[in-house]
């Protein structure tokens, strides 16, 4: 094998490392704030899976849309949302991206075309199809990227969405983050066919699987996929093979998997992997690494301070926006 660091693009590598660190540190802080009861409800951490969102999102254009699940802090940040707006949302503050009404699972941001965290497994796949349909019909050269877990593949909506997207040749990139467990259910215990690529191919959707712990590989795969989609060739299915290092949510006692399996995957930590390659290529010095860490730490601290200082939405506004407000 050739020198693993040789083909690392310096700029891309550093940008990906920065993004993954932002996601990681923001989420570590979130877990802490959950224990401190600043953040409540369900909190699903993405720790371990950062290379997926970071890698794909770097290949997108600002007007491409993203729809994601309840495990979407990383996607939101990588799509360009501010950490302040995300943190304030988790605090339930009115300055949050959804006015504090959605919380961790329902981040929305029209400006970056982040069309939500959806907490109904599989529920957002048809939505991505519709967004793609609108772009196709209105001849807008943009793409909708839909992120979901492998658990969603069992839902009827996955199959319906695949078929529609292929049938109508829609500009949708389906990114299945296969972290092997849907809550406590391992893929092999829920699917008769565990090769997800074959499922997509059954609908004549071109598909590929990629190492979801390798941000550069994810980026390269996303680039190829997007070329296909942007060329008007229809949807593409990307399986990102990854692992969540943390429990499903803050309530999960993790009875269904053993420590050793988690530890094995932790050895392939996407941040450490990329960092190693950058160092080997001579693109990352100790000093630069420390600076990166300091910057991210400052950004997280700023986001938390912003969230803390932000006001709550007045109770009297509870019934606003159930419908559009008619403006004079």
């Amino acid at each position: 094998m050739s020198d693993p660091g040789r083909d690392v693009d310096r700029e891309a590598g550093l940008a990906l490392l920065h993004m993954m660190l932002r996601i990681r540190r923001m989420e570590e802080k979130s877990a802490e704030l959950y224990s401190a009861e600043k953040i409540r409800g369900f909190l699903h951490l993405y720790i371990g899976e950062e290379a997926c969102a970071a890698g794909v999102m770097r290949e997108l254009r600002p007007d491409d849309a993203v729809v994601a699940t309840y495990r979407e802090h990383g996607h939101a940040l990588a799509k360009g949302m501010s950490m302040r707006a995300i943190m304030a949302e988790m605090f339930g503050k009115v300055t949050g991206c959804s006015r504090g009404r959605g919380g961790s699972m329902h981040l929305f941001d029209a400006a970056t075309r982040f069309c939500g965290g959806n907490a109904i497994v599989g529920g957002h796949l048809p939505l991505a199809v519709g967004l793609g349909l609108a772009d196709a019909m209105l001849r807008r050269p943009r793409v909708t990227v839909c992120f979901f877990g492998e658990g969603a593949v069992a839902e009827g909506e996955f199959h319906e969405a695949m078929n529609l997207a292929a049938l109508w040749r829609l500009p949708v990139l389906f990114c299945c983050e296969n972290n092997l467990y849907a809550m406590g259910t391992a893929l092999a215990r829920s699917e008769s066919e565990v090769d997800l690529v074959r499922k997509a191919e059954a609908y004549r959707v071109p598909a590929a699987a990629v190492d979801g712990m390798d941000a550069l590989a994810v980026g390269a795969a996303a680039r190829r996929a997007l070329e296909h989609v942007r060329a008007g060739e229809g949807p593409y299915f990307l399986e990102l093979r990854t692992f969540r290092f943390r429990p499903h949510s803050m309530f999960d006692p993790e009875l269904y998997r053993n420590r050793a399996e988690v530890d094995r995957w932790r050895e392939r930590d996407p941040i450490a992997l990329l960092e190693g390659r950058l160092r080997a290529a001579g693109h990352l010095t100790d000093e630069a690494r420390a600076r990166l860490e300091r910057d991210v730490e400052a950004e997280v601290a700023d986001a938390v301070a912003f969230a803390e200082a932000s006001p709550l939405e007045p109770e009297g506004e509870l019934d606003r926006f159930v419908h559009a407000e008619v403006r004079a």
Binding site: R40, G41, M183, S190
Partner: protein, 325 residues
């Protein structure tokens, strides 16, 4: 007597049913290895094995439909859907198949299925995890709809539900699982046809069910301090409604406040009010009051969520209004 939680009471009822009848199986997402999304089925896999405590893929329509088929085929499935919100993916199977089959087949096929699901808000889980749609199910002929609000009912409703030759939907309010209370060593089965008077009173009837029972009882206690003697009725059976118990109560108190975590419009509270209007019009001394959830998707932020849900003060105020106070 011993102390158990609501969660343990449901688990004990399932264990008893599975020990008593080989045909009973539990089917649902993460009911086995994970121990149930709310920890209700923890330990059952170990006792009964993977055949009878069956983890399903994320496919609500599929596994609820399979439960219906299994019931048709002679089994007695308990199907757990994690929450009522996700049951909407299976609504077609429940409404278009389970509920209709007996009537539509001219009484040739029945669906002896028990469908358990969690409902309700109060834990800051935001709009896609917090709604109370019991009223929708109570709309559908062919279903029996139960809402155990006490530990006794959580323990005692399953056996008669499994004995029912037709589909029964059992709603467990997520806020009740940690409720702790006494339970006899050998609890008696519960009558799944009748509402229960949880607190007798003379001045006003508070009608409620499920997760709102605690609030109604608290309101009754607060009203007692103000010299108002409130009766609290726990509907328990949301379909078919037990009119007799309701009417007897209102005949005594002449006033009614209905507390329902569902949205007001088209709600179960609306149905109860209509029945009282139809059948107890001349017994009533004041307009019927309803305390329901605000007509908004339940928001995440704590203060907004609380503002959206029925509150004890709201119930007290409504009761006082019926008394002209």
């Amino acid at each position: 007597m011993r102390e158990v939680t609501y969660r343990e009471a449901v688990r004990e009822a399932m264990r008893e049913a599975m020990r008593a009848d080989e045909r009973v199986l539990l089917l649902g997402e993460d009911v086995g290895r994970y121990g149930g999304a709310f920890g209700v089925s923890k330990g059952l896999l170990e006792e009964f094995g993977e055949e009878r405590v069956r983890d399903t893929p994320l496919s609500e329509s599929g596994f609820v439909g399979a439960g219906i088929g299994a019931a048709l085929g002679g089994l007695r499935p308990i199907v757990e859907v994690m929450t009522v919100n996700f049951s909407l993916l299976a609504l077609d199977q429940i409404v278009n198949t389970a509920a209709l089959l007996r009537h539509m087949s001219g009484d040739q096929f029945g669906v002896p299925l028990v469908l358990r699901m969690t409902t309700g808000a109060g834990r800051q889980l935001a709009a896609q995890h917090s709604h109370s749609l019991e009223g929708w199910y109570a709309h559908v002929p062919g279903l029996r709809v139960l809402a155990p609000a006490t530990i006794e009912d959580a323990r005692g409703m399953l056996a008669p539900a499994l004995a029912d030759p037709d589909p029964v939907v059992l709603f467990e309010h997520a806020g009740l699982y940690n409720l702790k209370g006494p339970l006899p060593e050998a609890p008696a089965p519960v009558d799944i046809a009748r509402a229960a008077v949880r607190r007798p009173g003379r001045d006003v009837t508070l009608v409620t069910y499920g997760g709102s029972l605690g609030k109604a009882l608290e309101a009754a206690a607060a009203l007692a301090e103000l010299g108002v003697d409130a009766e609290v009725i726990d509907l328990r059976v949301l379909r078919p409604l037990d009119d007799a118990t309701l009417l007897a109560s209102v005949a005594r108190t002449h006033r009614a406040v209905i507390v329902d975590e569902g949205w007001r419009t088209g709600s179960l509270a609306g149905e109860v009010a209509a029945r009282l209007g139809e059948q107890a019009f001349y017994d009533l001394d004041a307009p019927i009051e309803r305390v329901c959830s605000a007509e908004v998707p339940i928001p995440y932020a704590r203060h907004l969520e609380l503002a959206a849900l029925p509150r004890v003060e709201g119930i007290v105020a409504a009761a006082l209004r019926t008394l002209g106070r």
